[in-house]
Symmetry: C2
Subunit: 244 residues, 2 copies
């Protein structure tokens, strides 16, 4: 018998209907990220469902990072809502820390290089000026602190992703960044972590300013390579100390 000839029938789906109605509402009102949604009580009344059902639907959205609830204040839209949303659950192999960290870097190596190249192709003069500004801030912080500043460094990179014109770069690399730092609790004992990557920030910028995609790609690869080296040095050190 053809299994497909008897698909499961559609059972009740109240909260799904609520979500669909909410999508419609947000689009109809043209709500922008940051704006407040109607209160749960009002939604329940308008949609003719109980407040509990509304809450279940909103809980789903909250779990997907679409919405933020603040007790006593309201529920706020956090991201543009669109039907073209995909929810990507990422899990690492769960091996030791070193393996996980290297895996996030492998992804970053591929994406950073591509983003830098696209950025060099597409950057407008204004974009280039913005990136240079972020670079200056980062270099300033580096000299002041005598070391890499995660914050300013990350902002520089984000500027590049944004100019690449493809929002997926920023989203995916940001996830890698978060994964990386989740395993970075104990810093493997490498004091000057990131030092080696410093000069490549400027070389990447120069390639972008010169509209040199291949050059930018190469410099980005070199940058990631220094981070991988730092990581390997740290892992070797850790292994030694593990042996007492």
């Amino acid at each position: 018998m053809d299994q497909n000839s008897l698909p499961p029938i559609q059972t009740t789906a109240r909260d799904d209907a609520v979500l669909k109605a909410l999508v419609g509402f947000v689009r109809a009102e043209a709500l922008q990220p940051g704006e407040r949604l109607p209160t749960e009580r009002i939604l329940a009344e308008r949609l003719k469902v109980s407040r509990n059902t509304v809450r279940e639907a909103l809980t789903r959205w909250e779990g997907l990072g679409l919405v933020e609830r603040r007790q006593g204040s309201g529920t706020y839209l956090k991201a543009a809502v669109s039907p073209d949303m995909l929810h990507l659950p990422l899990t690492l192999a769960g091996g030791n820390d070193f393996t996980s960290l290297m895996q996030t870097l492998e992804i970053r190596r591929a994406l950073e290089a591509e983003a830098a190249a696209l950025c060099a192709e597409r950057a407008s003069p204004a974009d280039i000026a913005e990136i240079e500004r972020k670079l200056d801030i980062m270099e300033q912080a580096f000299r002041t602190l005598d070391g890499m500043s995660s914050e300013e460094d990350w902002e520089f990179h984000q500027a590049i992703y944004r100019v690449s014109g493809n929002p997926l770069f920023e989203q995916i690399i940001a996830a890698m960044h978060e994964l990386f730092h989740r395993f970075w609790e104990h810093p493997l004992g490498v004091r000057d972590f990131g030092h080696a990557s410093f000069p490549y920030h400027r070389t990447i910028y120069e390639c972008i300013a010169a509209r040199d995609p291949q050059g930018a790609r190469g410099e980005a690869l070199k940058l990631i390579a220094t981070v991988e080296d730092d990581l390997k040095r740290g892992a070797a050190k850790l292994k030694l100390s593990d042996l007492r």
Copy 2:
């Protein structure tokens, strides 16, 4: 069941605490995907919270695809739960279909090339044999159907990601694949979509078998380029037909 594996909740932030308790419970009981969780009523009683609070927590897990609820039956674990999990909500710029499709391809271009290169570096003889098997199946399907078969083609690529040794490749590219096909409802009128990519599957395999990372990277780039070309052709065609 061990009663001690479900200690009562005490602090505020109930539902988060409930989730944490559930993670502990699943690990303590070593629950495997497919197994059933305790009923909501039992969880509520054990954790000393109301059933609604338990439901909010479970709704979050359900939204994250971690768990499946079946009315009248129970709540079942769908995926292995681990603390090294990250959920990444992806949203495309939401522009027209063509832009979105190209953006997923830009990500794939970066990742496919890297995965192919890593695969060529790390493939064992058994891995290479497995990839060749998938390639044969795909080529067989191509000749039979006189065109690309999404199913077999995808399996070939997946084998490469798996051999790369980094599970993130498969997860992220799979997400891109799904995004791509979400916009692929109306096929832009390109009849022989994917035809051009066919020969590169074998060249990629040959580079992998020859342990030639740079070659594999290059062939993977060529493959993606053909898909991008198909897409551009389709977009041009569509634009013409839009003009009547």
